[in-house]
Symmetry: C2
Subunit: 493 residues, 2 copies
């Protein structure tokens, strides 16, 4: 065992205990003797040890599948006493390696905690366990005329605990704001096993510091989220989807301003993607079709409106269409005729990341940048990589234009350090110089823990480390994620 | 001087240094030699030492009026080194004694820091210094077609730093959500004088823990907010105000559900007040008139809609009016004919707290409760106090029904401990049993610091105290506010 105080080089690099057979036994005890929920066989453990892209590969020996908060608490209490490193895992749909082990951390998967505890129509909120899949919760509240104020491409797999822990943004942020406003309460198991019960369903509660905010977006480095209370607004009665082709990104920005004015309170999504993104989707995903055949454009925008009166919404959308067509802001546009057609239009935007996965390796960057200049980086990076790698790499730009959030993706057949070195730190430096964020919504995970300084100054990082130490003195919670190793007293991996 | 380690009884009770003449000199130095901004004469200091209601009276000897963040930093550095207690003060419009001294704390007033730093129409955000008055910022962004997503009765006096520090809720929360979503960035001077620069204007930024959340709603106990970056959505093109009279609170709740459905995304406020509140306003404030003369009702609701298309908004409101009239949910209703009339309707709700002040002493409670049962407490309390005090006390209920937030007020000629004892802890216990919040939006201040346990369990309070100690090891920042004295190592005041 390499204890926290051990002095050999290995221990300093990885100051946590190696997991023994007796630890696995202790986990079985913590789970009431149910050995079927403590996985130790390599073939069982494997899928929890690697992320869905196959980019981040750990070497966990044990996966624990608790069913209750109390079980999570007992598992954490043991790990805390034994200085065992832990990675909490949700749907494993993250993009920055935040939910998979870096070495042999014990994986605490929330997948068996999937009860929807309560749905309250009067108050407009729901309480669920962390392992509830976003789409399941959406279906359950839809049946009562409400909606979850969060929607993601990964909705069929991502779990609510993971969504909260990563402060997921997604497709509805423009309309409903961030989870920092929508999450009403949380239950969290702290690194020492204590259970912090912050499950409330009040809209307003100014009794002391808002502790739940600490755990929203902490990517599991401060505790394990076990329950989520979230506001669930009325489902819109009328939803429209339209897709537009445009000549330039400047036109996309011009149209965004018009949309804000003319669509106003019913504008619920404003998403863009470039030609390269569309080409990749059409090439990789069967059943997809060019939405504007015969009129190839450089840029595409998907607009969604959500409102309470179909007639009013259609009138607003028609007025908007007239303006953007007559002012020649768009090359062409198409409105979703019915739910199926609308879904097909959304799919083109929503499934780009799946198409990227099918295409091979991908370097993903998730940046906040000033909206008007956002796409410049895609152009600059394309110009930078072309002379080095020619057609071996493709640079794609898409994202949540309405939120100032660019998803910059470099697609290639296989991961290649030379390509990575050509992109990083270039992209981060560019973002820093624009006073942007090197992680708009994906989080830092293991991918960008050491890059935090591009968006946060030393004092801020120091204060984050102070909070980490206060909550997790042994540093066992999801080590090497979010904060630079040195800031929390670890040496580099 | 009673140092932190001194052992006499007085020092234990108040473990901070007594402010000396040499400290005032040091503050003058910190302010670049400008002695006019360090107030020490009793007549100058007095108004900063007492809250606007005259309920919380301290005994400060010095008020400091910094103009820059650097000056705040120097002042805090001195206070930290000398263990001098500090109370940051904004517009002094708080209701729980959070912004006034409990003893002889140095008052750091932000009133001279009132620059609007920038307004960005493209991004829809503004950056201002902490001392900017809410109404000033609203005027400035209105001139560019935007609005501040916060509105309060105290808007003519309350400052942005204070609004953020108290996580002010107010009249627009229903539409724009809480400040936890709207505030994009902050600059904060920490208790040791360090400046934490978290001023960003990005919609999305998941680079590490969201430190600014710590200071939103901390009521100045973790640092001094010096700059605020806030999102400023497009101002609505069309605003309608309607006032309704109803027979019962149950009808108010029934109408709220209909409003959510029929007005949907344009519903921007749903406020209620009872007969007692209206009577008081009409009695105390000249120029006010009964909105529904000849039809006295037990309850009144003010509804505001905000939208982008006047025709659509009016159509929705008309449809709503038809339903609530034909279904006899309301006794009567009146729609604001023009801006002046709409303002008059709003005034009846907005100025209740001013009317209460004119009427004498007032015990104010700001509670989150399950909406449907919210008004029960008013009835129960009225029944409880009547046999004891007869007509000496009036119990009023009003508030943000759409947010589940009741303002319960007990009005009497003069403050009287017997009345207070009859209300407290009764009201807090009732709220706890309903799993409500004893402070929905006003904060805890000095009034409710010891009552936090009615809404938060011991583990949560302990964790808050951990964070307080991490940021403010000497406890000099706004002592005796927010957290129970014992939790941060102080004895009772």
């Amino acid at each position: 065992m390499g204890g926290a105080g051990a002095s050999d080089a290995r221990a300093r690099q990885w100051p946590f205990s190696v997991v023994r057979a007796s630890d696995a036994d202790a986990f079985v005890d913590a789970l009431g003797g149910d050995a079927t929920r403590v996985l130790t066989r390599a073939e069982d453990v494997k899928k929890y040890s690697v992320d869905w892209m196959g980019k981040y590969v750990g070497a966990s020996a044990v996966v624990v599948l608790p069913r209750t908060t109390e079980e999570v608490s007992k598992v954490m209490r043991h790990c805390h006493a034994r200085r065992i490193a832990v990675v909490p895992q949700g749907g494993n749909t993250g993009l920055v390696g935040g939910g998979t082990p870096t070495r042999d951390e014990v994986v605490v998967s929330l997948e068996r905690m999937r009860d929807i505890v309560s749905i309250d129509e009067d108050a407009g909120c729901a309480v669920c366990e962390a392992g509830v899949v976003l789409e399941e919760l959406e279906s359950a509240v839809r049946a009562r005329g409400m909606t979850v104020p969060l929607d993601l491409g990964a909705k069929g797999k991502c779990q609510m605990g993971g969504c909260v822990s990563t402060n997921a943004g997604g497709l509805r942020l423009l309309r409903y704001g961030s989870l920092r406003g929508s999450v009403l309460g949380l239950e969290v198991v702290l690194p020492n096993g204590d259970v912090l019960d912050l499950v409330r369903t009040l809209r307003k509660d100014n009794t002391g510091y808002d502790l739940k905010q600490l755990f929203i977006g902490a990517e599991g480095t401060l505790g394990v989220v076990t329950k989520v209370a979230i506001s669930t607004p009325r489902a819109p009665r009328s939803v429209n989807v339209a897709l537009f082709g445009l000549e330039s990104f400047a036109k996309c920005v011009e149209m965004l301003k018009l949309a804000r004015g003319l669509l106003g309170e019913i504008l619920s999504a404003y998403e863009f993607f470039d030609r390269e993104s569309l080409d990749l989707v059409l090439a990789q995903l069967s059943g997809t079709r060019d939405p504007l055949p015969g009129k190839p454009c450089e840029f595409y925008v998907v607009i969604e409106t959500s409102g309470s009166d179909a007639k009013h919404d259609t009138a607003k959308l028609d007025a908007f269409l007239n303006v953007v067509k007559s002012q020649r802001i768009v090359v062409d546009g198409v409105v979703g005729r019915d739910e199926k057609h609308a879904f097909a239009l959304w799919t083109l935007r929503e499934r780009i990341s799946v198409a990227l996965k099918y295409a091979g390796a991908v370097y993903k960057y998730d940046l906040s940048l000033p909206t008007a200049r956002m796409y410049n980086l895609v152009v600059v990076l394309r110009d930078r990589l072309r002379p080095m790698f020619g057609s071996r790499v493709k640079v794609l730009g898409y994202g949540h234009a309405g939120d100032g959030n660019l998803h910059l993706n470099v697609s290639c057949a296989e991961y290649d350090d030379a390509i990575e070195r050509a992109i990083e730190p270039f992209v981060y430096e560019y973002t820093r110089d624009e006073r942007g964020s090197v992680s708009a919504e994906h989080g830092l995970g293991v991918m960008k823990a050491e890059e935090i300084h591009y968006s946060k100054d030393a004092k801020a990082v120091e204060l984050m480390a102070t909070m980490k130490r206060a909550l997790d003195p042994f540093g066992i919670m999801n080590p090497y994620k979010v904060l630079p190793a040195a800031a929390v007293g670890l040496s580099k991996l």
